[in-house]
């Protein structure tokens, strides 16, 4: 019994010792550092939800990025090299995101576009920073800035900008002071809540009502009735498209007639469809990309988009298009640099895009203005 035990122990020890000895010679995983070869295609990753609830955002972003890359490739690529877009599905799950961050690092991608969900991007950021892969995201949460990664860039404004512009319009321009808020406790809603409250506070305005709902709440009678009793002049919404639509629909049913105000989600067709077209009339929207008719560039973009994908362009596609353009410009100016050099090149890029004029600061934010529009006759038009 004992001798067999000893023998077993000896075998085990040997089993342990062998790999340890091997490990001493060479650490496992010596495959890293196979830097981008200077020929062959330039590999860029697009990480976004291609499945799950956020997959429509992912699909739009993919189209925007694809459009930009196809334009460059048609024009001969960069330094004669074609650009290859690898598409990865994060399923809207941050853990999957962290896996993908490692995957694109190990497969030699030099830059990443996406994701549309701040939580996923935040989860990926430390790994991308360690791997020195610049990332241009479509998220807008102030939390992205708080990550303080020199490799993380935003292709649009943060909630702070959206809501500062909105507060300025509502309070300063329109002179509305009786403002009620209804926001959800999800990542997006919470960012909106904090940013808008801050912008109001800077103007000495306190919301007359501040209701928080859960991200999957369906009935808002309690919150909306409380708001109705306070007789606000405008109601700020911080929630995603569908939930915002439900809130507006129920508010109208409860006899609330005042306009709603919000950021990008309130400018989308999904919001209008869910709420009912009549119900969203007069909604005030703060967005860097109000519609495809905003400028000559956007008209051109929308036409190309329509021609390629046979559907109307919208904001997320435009954001990804801008972000990809910035990345490709930086690659061109830096002679296809990678790592820190590429990040520096992006930071130095000035680009007049669909969303406005990009010029990045140290926080990775490149644009600090949005436009105000209102929904009139079912269409989002720039406010006069």
């Amino acid at each position: 019994m004992f001798s067999s035990l000893r023998r077993r122990a000896a075998v085990m020890l040997l089993g342990l010792a062998l790999p340890v000895a091997l490990a001493a010679c060479s650490a496992p995983g010596g495959d890293q550092g196979d830097a981008q070869k200077s020929d062959g295609p330039i590999k860029i990753a697009l990480v976004d939800a291609q499945s799950g609830q956020l997959s429509s955002l992912g699909a739009w972003e993919l189209k925007g990025a694809r459009l930009a890359i196809d334009e460059w490739n048609a024009a001969g690529g960069i330094n004669g090299r074609q650009i290859e877009l690898g598409v990865f599905d994060d399923q809207g799950d941050p853990t999957v995101g962290t896996n993908l961050a490692r995957k694109i690092a190990s497969e030699g991608y030099i830059a990443m576009i996406g994701t549309a969900e701040s939580a996923v991007t935040i989860a990926m950021a430390p790994i991308l920073r360690d791997s020195k892969i610049p990332n241009i995201t479509s998220g807008q949460s102030p939390g992205l800035v708080a990550v303080k990664s020199p490799f993380l860039f935003l292709n649009g404004p943060t909630s702070v900008t959206y809501d500062e512009t909105l507060a300025k319009y509502i309070v300063d321009t329109k002179g509305l002071k009786k403002i009620a808020m209804i926001t959800n406790n999800g990542g997006y809603g919470k960012g909106e809540h904090d940013a808008f409250t801050k912008s109001l506070a800077a103007r000495g305005v306190t919301p007359i009502e501040d209701q928080v709902v859960t991200a999957d709440q369906k009935d808002f009678s309690a919150a909306l009735t409380t708001i109705r009793q306070k007789n606000p002049e405008v109601i700020f919404i911080g929630a995603e498209e569908v939930q915002s639509g439900l809130i507006v629909k129920q508010a109208r049913d409860l006899g609330i007639t005042v306009p709603f105000a919000g950021a990008a989600p309130q400018g989308t067709p999904v919001f209008a469809d869910t709420a009912g077209t009549a119900n969203v009339e007069g909604t005030i929207v703060s967005s860097p990309y109000l519609s495809n008719e905003v400028s000559e560039a956007s008209k051109k973009f929308a036409a190309a988009y329509k021609a390629k994908f046979n559907e109307d362009a919208e904001m997320h596609g435009a954001k990804a298009y801008d972000g990809t353009q910035i990345l490709l410009n930086a690659l061109k100016t830096s002679n296809v640099a990678t790592g820190q050099a590429l990040a520096d090149a992006i930071r130095a890029t000035k680009y007049a895009g669909l969303l406005g004029d990009f010029a990045f600061d140290d926080t990775g934010v490149g644009i600090f203005a949005t436009r105000i529009g209102t929904i009139q006759g079912g269409k989002l038009v720039a406010a006069g």
Binding site: P94, T95, K103, A123
Partner: protein, 605 residues
Amino acid sequence: MKLRVAGIAVLAVLAWLLPYQLDSYLIHVANVVIIFAILAIGLGLVMGIAGQINLAQIALFGVASYATAILTTRAGFGFWTAAALAMLIVAAIGLLIGTPALRMQSHYLGIVTLGLALALTNWVTNAHIAGGAEGITGIPAPALPGIDLRNDYFFYYLELIVFGLALAFGLFVVRTPLGRKMRAMRDDSLAAGAVGVEVPQLRMTAFFLASIYGGVAGVLYAGLIRYVAPETFSIANMFLLLAMVIIGGRQSLVGCVVGAIALSVLREVLVDYPTYAQVAYGAVVVLTVVFAPTGLAGLPTRARGLLQRWGWLRRDTGTPPKLGDFRPYDTVERPAEQVILRIDDVSMHFRGLKALQEVTMEITAGEIRGIVGPNGSGKTTLFNVVSGLYRPTAGRVWLGERDMTAARPHTLARAGVARTFQNLRLFPLLTVRENLLVALDQTSVLGNWRYALWQPGVWRHDRALRRQADELLDRFGLTAFADAAPGELPYGTQRRVEIARAMARRPRLLLLDEPAAGLNGEEVRQLSEIVRSIRSTGVTVVLIEHNMGLVMSLCERVTVFAGGRVIADGTPAEVARAPQVVEAYLGDSAMSEDVPVATPTEAKR
């Protein structure tokens, strides 16, 4: 045995060498897989081993990662300090989530654990301290002297060691008293209570164990990903984990691990088609429960069975083992004549049915009492009242001087009441030896501290129990069947196993419910010998029996039941002559006169 050791060694070496084959991404995948495997072991323990539905395992995992994240980033603790505190927190939450299991089972437990899991997710999504929906970034990497655990390769070895320990501990639990009791409770919680298993406390223990595994996995996760967010602990991931355990085979911890690895790999292979992966694993879950309830772990057994049926594999055709002779106990002096069991005016009503009506009887220490009566006259109900399965509608039950009316089955078992069941309630998935071992173990749930602090103590205790079991097997002539599943044994042998199991506790009072049902003549003779020997050690025996020959020859006194009442009480001869008894049985008092009455000792069979 040698083969198994060699297999384990080969697997260990392969696992140790695995990183050399993996690139930096795949090693990360491997790290995540190991975490899921640890979680699956925990879920396997609570669901497969202890039989408690737990849909909050992912939430426990989340609690530990969040606790680690909050304690490191907000409170500034070091990683390992935070991890230790997180384990305490998750254990407390595990006990909390397990509390409903004291009151409810099955789907009730399912919805309540699911609800509590959602409540926890809701809390982390809201609480400022938990970072809301964006979660918490910047968890410091765990540090070990000289090893950089930010490196996924080194983290792999850390995980591998923890996983090895976790699996070994899990298997250790399953094979030692605690796990045996949990398996017994899963197979038949009623019978488990009757042999002294503290069922409610054991359910809590199962949840506690699951929470420890959830905690370990959660801490590792926090150290690996260094980021936590609510989505990771979603219901979808809970169902994925459940699928791993079901597909792998919930009753085998190794099966759970295999399931976890298989599904994780499948998910990775189908990473670009997550929806189809979902269809695939959902469908496999359905097919598994319908066609292979034991999962992947049960496949070898099923395959062997199939091959045998097709004639490709020879059946084991040695001579079937034979039931040995019973070795009588040493006789001790008969205890003083005192009342050991007093049933005082007990009534038991079920809705419209009055199963027992004002039953009063006394049983003297050291006697063999027969309880007879037509079907449905309330005999088994009386046993159920005495052994604590039912709480009587009225009346009291006294064991010696103790009022046991409201006692739970395990309390009664620990006070010296043992019983068998009319329809045999052996634990079907335990071997014969394990059936006895469950009953032999007298330690209380609190005695399980040894599992945490002094495992050699457990080991030694288990060895002692096994010696006792061997002695008991030998005494009852069951040695040849020690490792067989009870269901494979002849009926008469199963009956004997049940009596041996009841005797394992060295009871003062043994209740036998129709011990001779289904036995042939020779077996009945052996039974009567066994019962006499048991009595000769000072144990009081009460038996319900329809085999009147046995009752007449064995019992000193007989109590006759009819319609929930005691209609006669006396020596067998007296009772057999009593007109009300004859009427109750044959329905005809006239028949009692024209037949000569034999003396009890003459009766044979």
